[in-house]
């Protein structure tokens, strides 16, 4: 049981840092720009497809990753300029409709460009295989690399947000958008920067996960809901909240998913226990969200009420 707990803890942290990368952009866009972006999951999917394409073209995961990042910047800028910019002054309902339309357009576009068959991204040689953990336990090197990369990005964001001028503007924007623009900051440019940063982080998450999962059109929708839960739990607009919220949600999800059925198996037959456990894990996440919102209505680190 301890073995299983340790493994699931690692799996939870790995899922957590991925969720953080996606949620960081979502919380900034929502908190600073006040835009509900349902198409954020699309960026995650696009990141995976981009690295699949570039890695296949160059024959190397690293080149794929290096080329994916500037491509993600372009995708973010274009999306902001073409669609998102027109939504700032609109109501939340309009934003939901427009970005939901974007989800459908993007899924079809991906099917037209890349086809319906899932793509595979080769894992870099140096990160394949596994390391001994304790006793007979092994853990994949690549998943450890994801954890390290995610934590590095989190540390980088911490420095940018807390110790640079642009970070100061972001924090100010999340707290009081009107005041920031009244002080003469070019809010349009700030928004473009924020959205692009969010897009690049989501694309990076998709690119990092691509070698473990097969890349397909449904992958964006599956993480979007969990990401929204993370944003709400962490507090809208708070990067710190997104980080701790993501780790918390991921740990509850992975540990609940395994230990739930094990406990249930004591009282139910395996098929029913498996099914109930599957339903229990996502439910735990929402129960957690309800409890946190009950105690802190603005989320764990929410700046605004």
């Amino acid at each position: 049981m301890t073995n299983l707990f340790v493994l699931q803890l690692l799996n939870g942290v790995q899922l957590g840092v991925l969720l953080f990368l996606i949620a960081a952009g979502l919380t900034l866009v929502f908190g600073i720009m006040d835009v509900v972006n349902l198409a954020h999951g699309v960026l995650y999917m696009v990141g995976a497809y981009l690295i699949a394409t570039f890695a296949a073209a160059t024959g190397s995961f690293w080149w794929g990753l290096a080329l994916m990042l500037p491509a993600a910047v372009v995708v973010g800028l274009v999306l902001e300029w073409v669609v998102i910019r027109r939504l700032y002054a609109r109501s939340h309902l309009d934003q939901v409709l427009a970005t939901f339309g974007l989800v459908m357009i993007a899924s079809e576009a991906v099917k037209i460009i890349w086809g319906v068959s899932p793509l595979a991204v080769p894992m870099p040689e140096i990160l394949s295989g596994s390391v001994p953990l304790m006793g007979p336990l092994q853990y994949p090197v690549y998943r450890i690399a994801i954890i390290v990369a995610g934590l590095a990005v989190a540390a980088g964001l911490y420095v940018v947000i807390n110790h640079t001028r642009i970070g100061m503007l972001l924090r100010a924007g999340a707290t009081d958008r009107m005041m920031v623009s009244a002080l003469g900051v070019d809010i349009g440019r700030l928004f473009a920067v924020v959205f692009t940063l969010g897009a690049v982080l989501a694309c990076l998450a998709g690119a990092l996960v691509a070698p473990i999962l097969s890349v397909d059109t449904g992958m964006g929708e599956s993480v979007l809901i969990l990401t929204f839960v993370v944003v709400v739990i962490g507090g809208i607009g708070s990067i710190k909240g997104a980080f701790f919220g993501a780790i918390l949600v991921a740990l509850v999800d992975t540990l609940g998913g395994v230990f739930g059925p094990i406990l249930l198996r004591e009282v139910l037959d395996p098929a029913a226990a498996g099914q109930a456990g599957r339903m229990l894990a996502p439910m735990l996440v929402y129960i957690l969200m309800a409890l946190i919102l009950f105690a802190k209505p603005a989320g764990m680190f929410g700046g605004r009420g």
């Binding site: 049981m1 073995n3 299983l4 493994l7 699931q8 799996n11 790995q14 899922l15 319906v116 068959s117 899932p118 595979a120 894992m123 394949s128 295989g129 596994s130 390391v131 001994p132 007979p136 336990l137 092994q138 853990y139 994949p140 090197v141 690549y142 998943r143 473990i212 999962l213 097969s214 397909d216 449904g218 992958m219 992975t254 998913g257 395994v258 059925p261 395996p270 098929a271 498996g274 099914q275 599957r278």
Partner: protein
């Protein structure tokens, strides 16, 4: 009461069959001079690779012979999109509009269940080259229905028997939570009597198996048995390898085969499966089939291709036996039942339920000398194996 019902059933059934036979004589498909065959396969979506293999296998033989059985042959290929409702409509079209003599296909069991009645009840002959559900093998067996693949449970039973013979006491079971997944684990348990380290049902279409692999790593079972067709299997195999679990034997059915190996490659090498054939099975018919397939399509054939190839051989042999006479359906069915052709899998005959009686093997994924990844026969598990439902089939 029960006796009376049985009696009634017993007297009406032959009458109904006799009626059907009369109707068959007037079949428009039987009276024209061409042999028309409709292929129903899944040719789009995530499982398209399976349908393509089957279509290629059938066409490989048909193209080589030209006219099957010496009769002018016309082949119509339709895509069922893995949708039973659509497949049933297309099967009706094939029978009613195109007036085909044979319908060949499909890949998926739910599609088979949908097209079975629309095809067989009109007197058209249905040859399934992959799906082999238990109901049509037992009480619902039908004179117009032939299977060139297997009964669905059998490959899982092979793995159960292998686990039993290895003396495993502690096997971890994992399958997606839907009918075929449950049937798979039930099939495994048919021939395995040891204990279980755990039994996990995953969501259909799940792609990240980290939680399940963590459980396997923690419980350290004697072996894992799993059924994860298509993309799920590709992901599971890759993650199993990355998690360093390869010291635990990986037993599977329909998970590691020629359709998934191009994606998993080295990660799958050494994994075990149950099958009725492998590309390196040593006989002249198989050598000819495999080399012809590689030459024509540039890929290694899987069981899907082999079973469809046999369906083409079966039709060819039966029509030759009847002297190219398509109008006598009774004689045609009798000729089909003889299965007088050289299957790449070696021994092949039909049981009373018109499902194959054949050998089953333990196969292992290998990298072949020609550079392809494929399965390779390790040992024979069952000889001339008859499925468990054949005894319930009375046919008439």
């Amino acid at each position: 009461m029960t006796f009376k019902t049985t009696l009634l059933a017993a007297t009406t059934a032959p009458l109904a069959l006799a009626g059907a036979a009369v109707a068959q004589d007037a079949l428009p498909s039987a009276t024209d001079d061409t042999l028309k065959i409709g292929l129903v396969y899944t040719l789009s979506g995530p499982a398209a690779a399976l349908g393509e293999q089957a279509r290629n296998g059938f066409m490989l033989y048909a193209d080589r012979v030209g006219d099957l059985g010496g009769v002018e042959t016309e082949i119509v290929v339709v895509d069922d999109e893995q949708r039973p409702d659509l497949a049933a409509d297309k099967a009706r079209e094939l029978v009613a509009r195109d007036e085909v003599d044979f319908v060949v296909g499909p890949i998926f069991s739910n599609v088979l269940v949908a097209i079975h009645r629309p095809v067989t009840e009109t007197g058209t002959i249905l040859i399934s080259t992959n799906a082999g559900t238990s109901n049509f093998a037992g009480e619902e067996c039908h004179p117009n229905f032939f299977v060139t693949s297997y009964q669905n449970d059998q490959n899982h039973e092979v793995m159960g028997a292998y686990a039993e013979s290895e003396g495993y006491q502690n096997v971890f079971l994992m399958a997606p939570n839907y009918q075929a997944g449950k049937d798979s684990l039930a099939g495994f348990k048919n021939s395995y009597t040891g204990g279980f380290a755990g039994e996990v049902f995953t969501e259909l279409g799940q792609l990240d198996f980290s939680s399940e692999l963590a459980q396997i790593a923690a419980f350290q079972p004697d072996a894992l048995f799993t059924f994860m067709p298509g993309g799920m299997g590709v992901n599971l195999v890759k993650q199993y390898d990355q998690a360093g679990l390869t010291s635990i034997p990986f037993l599977s059915a329909f998970t590691v085969d020629e359709t998934t190996l191009p994606a998993t490659q080295d990660a799958a090498v050494g994994l075990l499966g149950g099958a009725n054939w492998a590309p390196d099975l040593d006989n002249p018919a198989n050598e000819e089939f495999v080399s012809a397939y590689i030459e024509k399509y540039g890929a290694l054939p899987g069981t899907y291709a082999m079973q469809a190839y046999d369906a083409a051989q079966l039709i060819d042999s039966a029509i030759r036996k009847t002297g190219a006479d398509l109008s006598d359906r009774e004689a045609l069915r009798a000729a089909l039942l003889e299965a007088d052709f050289d299957s790449p899998r070696g021994d092949f005959s039909f049981g009373v339920n018109q499902y194959p009686v054949q050998d089953f093997y333990l196969v292992e994924a290998v990298k072949r000398d020609d550079g392809f990844y494929g399965t390779s026969v390790r040992e024979k598990i069952f000889d001339d194996y008859v499925d468990n439902y054949a005894a319930n089939c009375t046919m008439e």
